[in-house]
């Protein structure tokens, strides 16, 4: 090997190290008055949360049932994750910005909060003015500001926080809450059901095509508080909605727990598109701090010809445990899952999807792209199940992993269960590192290695990025850059 090549190899390695060592850029703490209840979880805390939020009796009962069930459960350990012991009694289960009356215009919104959004480049005004997106901003646990609601109301679209929905549309909430993710579903679902703070509620009436993309930006803000969102989306017959969820979180040294539930109900011929960009604080280079993201997301395609599409870009969180799923109950229903998961430094991700085919001729597509760097562990875990009655079903799964260092791990755990003879299920997976020929080709054309890696990673993730709505795609690409790219790529 010539001296020149030697230097090149060293500089490449250096480059990759530099990139992957990139510090988290969005770490900052917003100084807002927050109201925090003492740490710990017991029935009184559950009752307190319910009371503070002025909830009806049935919801309190729901919470208590969930809490009692949670007590009987143990934290799941089957994932390919190394989760430190979590002391659930050391977490505060409710934090709300000290209430002033709900702001009527942007002027009334706390300037500190607005600054936070400005720092993230997602200022409410800009969002409102430029992209026409209705934003339901969740700062810690209580909805602060919802925009465009009036405009949506004209069409009969309901887009508000869950707590408001409980008050204003109790019948709808009662009908659908817990109908897709039961409180008995798993450990974190039970925990969330007991203490969920707030989240979004979306109802699209029959035949309505929601004219704008609905969006929620979640932020975890107060130190030492867990955040337990609960999102419920219902698309009635022939309805359509595209929902965006994005997260960034400030830098913290203490691990924070995030256990959300997303429930989606899709009726006959309706379509829901759910996109996520997740960028919780991943912890520093040595794995100190970072968010634990244990989320239960599930959609029920109840109606015939219904369609649910999950798209996610996962770059953040110290630990991610997340399997957005589709229960394809309606005949000819369609489920989709597109995912890019990036892990760096000491991050761990165990993510994937479940496609449960119950309806005849239901179809599903899974495309999962994992990128691991540093000392991270990135797993795809997915289940495809075709019930006996679900004839004529079709599934295609592709999961690729890209390895950027020799100390990281990329794993694939597909579970495939087919119970009839008229369905076709395919699964493909590959694992490899960045193709040196491609790097060489780029170099040869005058593209520096740094840019070339960026190019290749972006190209690799393109298939999923393309599925994101325009507004999100830009931010997602930026995130990929922050997470890996500017130095690896």
């Amino acid at each position: 090997m010539s001296n020149n090549e030697n230097t090149k190899v060293v500089s490449d390695e250096q480059l990759i190290k530099d990139v992957t060592a990139g510090e988290y850029k969005y770490g900052f703490v917003t100084d807002i008055d927050t109201h925090v209840i003492p740490v710990g979880l017991n029935e009184d805390v559950v009752r307190y949360i319910s009371e503070v939020k002025g909830e009806p009796e049935w919801l309190l009962e729901f919470r208590l049932k969930a809490y009692r069930h949670w007590l009987t459960l143990e934290m799941p350990r089957w994932a390919h994750l190394d989760i430190p012991e979590i002391d659930y009694q050391a977490i505060s289960y409710y934090a709300a910005p000290k209430t002033k009356p709900a702001p009527k215009s942007m002027d009334e919104v706390d300037p500190e909060l607005r600054k936070t959004f400005d720092k993230l480049g997602i200022s409410l005004e800009e969002q409102m003015r430029l992209s026409g997106i209705a934003v339901d901003a969740v700062m810690d646990s209580v909805s602060v500001k919802t925009t465009y609601r009036d405009k949506l109301a004209e069409l009969g679209v309901i887009f508000c926080s869950i707590s408001e929905a409980v008050k204003d549309y109790p019948d709808l909430v009662k009908k659908y809450l817990g109908s897709v993710v039961s409180y008995r579903d798993n450990f974190f679902a039970a925990l969330n059901s007991a203490v969920f703070s707030d989240g979004s509620f979306v109802y699209i009436p029959k035949g309505v095509r929601c004219p704008m993309e609905l969006s929620t930006y979640f932020r975890i803000n107060a130190a030492g508080t867990g955040q337990f969102e609960r999102t419920l989306i219902v698309a009635d017959d022939d309805a359509y909605v595209s929902y965006l969820e994005g997260c960034t979180a400030p830098m913290r040294d203490e691990n924070q727990l995030h256990a959300a539930i997303v429930e989606i109900v899709v009726e006959d011929r309706a379509e829901v598109k759910y996109s996520t960009v997740q960028n919780w604080y991943p912890g520093d280079k040595d794995g100190k701090g970072g968010i634990y993201n244990f989320v239960t997301k599930r959609g029920l395609c109840r109606g015939d010809y219904s369609k649910l599409s999950w798209t996610q870009v996962e770059t953040g969180s110290a630990i991610t445990w997340k399997y957005p799923s589709c229960v394809l109950k309606g005949n000819n229903s369609v489920g989709e899952f597109y995912s890019v998961a990036v892990t760096n430094n000491r991050q761990q991700a165990d993510t994937g999807t479940k496609m449960i085919h119950i309806g005849k001729n239901s179809r599903s597509t899974i495309v999962s792209k994992g990128i691991s760097a540093g000392f991270s562990q990135n797993s795809y875990r997915g289940q495809v199940k075709i019930a006996k009655t679900a004839t004529g079903c079709r599934n295609y799964t592709q999961c690729d992993s890209l390895l950027l260092s020799d100390t990281c791990g990329a794993h694939t755990f597909p579970y495939i269960d087919v119970q009839n003879d008229s369905s076709i299920v395919e699964h493909e997976a590959t694992t490899s590192k960045i193709n040196e020929d491609q790097l060489f080709y780029c170099n040869q054309r005058g593209i520096p290695t740094e840019d070339a890696v960026g190019l290749i990673v972006n190209g690799y993730a393109k298939e999923v990025m393309n599925k994101l709505p325009m507004e999100f795609a830009v931010e997602a690409q930026k995130l990929l850059q922050v997470s890996l790219e500017n130095s690896v790529g």
């Binding site: 006996k388 020799d406 694939t412 755990f413 597909p414 269960d417 003879d421 008229s422 395919e426 590192k433």
Partner: protein, 453 residues
């Protein structure tokens, strides 16, 4: 009471007899196995890697174990009239789990090669048996631990350094009993550096009404640059339950072919655990299953790449008919430092009836970046377009179907490195698809490598 307990009780009650009819290393390991089993239960449905298979149920019936080594009247020669001249294999038998050598069995063996009863070997070749017995068969695996607790006999194959055994070694396992019986079989295979051999193991059942639990643990040690083929063909009966655990350790530059073929069975669980314990190893792991009726075929593989330049190619194919249940769970694990590993895993299945069920779980765990790994899994049906095309060319439907099925199985058969076995397998697959008994009726014909004059 768990299924294991009844065997622990049996062991405690008959320990002296068990030890007396066995020897050396086999007896020495029993206390450890007992320790591993005490308080444990067999894997049940839903345990990781046992998604559709319930071993607690399989071990629950009260099977007899022939601890006193009573001659059950099995005559391998009667079972197997293949003492034809020019026998091209070196033929041995395990009747239930007792070892028999045929006349002339050893005639074709090169000097230094040992094929004998494991029980005898534990005395006569104690150094070999002590060195290898139980070294890789993990007692954490309950069926393996139970086998270790009760095993009294089996077979030792030892090929010394540099020796090449030309003739395939054939082992025929025969199950024959008037009462429900558990066979506890143990195979120990050691190839020293540069040795080469091929082995063909066939499972057969006589007295097909009886329920059998056919358990085996196989340990294969391949030295540096050793080449070894291991073909395991099951052709038993509906009332036979088979639990097989095969453990393999490969040293530098060794080359192994392991092929598990399930033709007729009742319930089958095959575990393959392979440790690639040196650089530049090569492993071919093949499997094929054709199941109809209410049969159950479950293959589990775990391949551990610990060193550089290892290659694994894994291919399992199933055809499931009627209410048959198939399961495949495979794991390829690449450890840190195992650079330049190439590992491919593929599982393809055809569900041929509305009630057939297939469960597939091909997994990769990769902790190293300079690797090429992929896995694929598909479950589907015979291509209707191809079927239509062939019919439109004047090929009757059943023949077209046969051709497509054969084509489907062809890449597993093509991987076989024993020409005569290839032909035999093609024939067996064909008869199986045609609905005829695929079993090796006239056993002479069944010895794939046997040529009648």
């Amino acid at each position: 009471m768990t299924a294991i307990n009844q065997y622990i009780e049996l062991f405690k009650a008959t320990r002296e007899a068990i030890d007396a009819h066995s020897a050396g290393a086999l007896n020495a390991l029993r206390p450890k196995a007992l320790e591993a089993l005490e308080g444990a239960r067999m894997p049940v449905k839903g345990d990781e890697d046992y998604e559709v298979t319930d071993l607690e149920e399989v071990y629950a019936p009260d099977y007899g174990v022939n601890v006193n080594r009573i001659d059950l009247g099995v005559n391998p020669a009667e079972a197997f009239h293949c003492d034809v001249p020019n026998l091209s294999t070196c033929l041995y038998f395990l009747a239930n789990d007792a070892f028999f050598a045929a006349r002339n069995s050893d005639k074709n063996l090169p000097e230094g090669v040992i094929v004998k009863s494991l029980r005898r070997a534990a005395v006569e070749n104690a150094d070999i048996v002590e060195k290898y017995y139980g070294q890789i068969a993990s007692l954490d695996c309950r069926p393996t631990a139970l086998n270790t607790l009760l095993a009294q006999d089996g077979l030792l194959l030892y090929v010394p350094k540099g020796v090449v055994v030309e003739k395939p070694i054939q082992l025929v396992n025969i199950l024959n009993s008037a009462t429900p019986l558990m066979a506890v079989r143990r195979l120990l295979i050691v190839l020293e550096d540069d040795a080469q051999a091929r082995m063909l193991v066939c499972d057969h059942t006589q007295n097909k009404q009886t329920d059998y639990l056919n358990t085996q643990v196989v340990e294969i040690f391949a030295g540096k640059r050793a080449v070894f083929d291991y073909y395991d063909i099951e052709d038993s009966s509906d009332s036979t339950h088979r639990v097989s655990n095969i453990y393999i350790r490969q040293q530098e530059a060794s080359n192994l072919m392991v092929d598990g073929i399930t033709l007729t069975n009742g319930f089958t669980r095959n575990n393959y655990v392979v440790d690639l314990d040196g650089d530049r190893t090569e492993l071919h792991l093949l499997g094929m299953a054709m199941a109809s009726g209410r049969r159950h075929v479950d293959n589990h593989t775990a391949v551990n790449h610990r060193h550089k330049y290892g290659t694994t190619s894994e291919l399992f194919k199933y055809v499931l008919d009627d209410q048959a249940v198939g399961s495949f769970s495979g794991l390829i694990k690449v450890f840190p430092g195992a650079d330049k590993t190439e590992a491919y895993q593929s599982n393809k299945n055809v569900c041929a009836s509305p009630e057939a069920r297939m469960y597939s779980k091909p997994q990769l765990i990769i902790d190293c970046d300079d690797v090429k790994c992929s896995h694929g899994s598909s479950i589907g049906q015979i291509d209707q377009n191809a079927l239509f095309y062939m019919q439109s060319r004047g090929i009757p439907e059943h023949e077209a179907r046969l051709m497509l099925m054969q084509a489907f199985m062809n890449d597993v058969i093509a991987g076989v490195r024993l020409e005569s076995l290839k032909d035999r397998l093609r024939h067996l697959v064909e008869t199986h698809i045609l609905g005829g008994s695929s079993s090796c009726q006239d056993c002479a014909g069944a010895c794939p490598t046997t040529k009648k004059d």
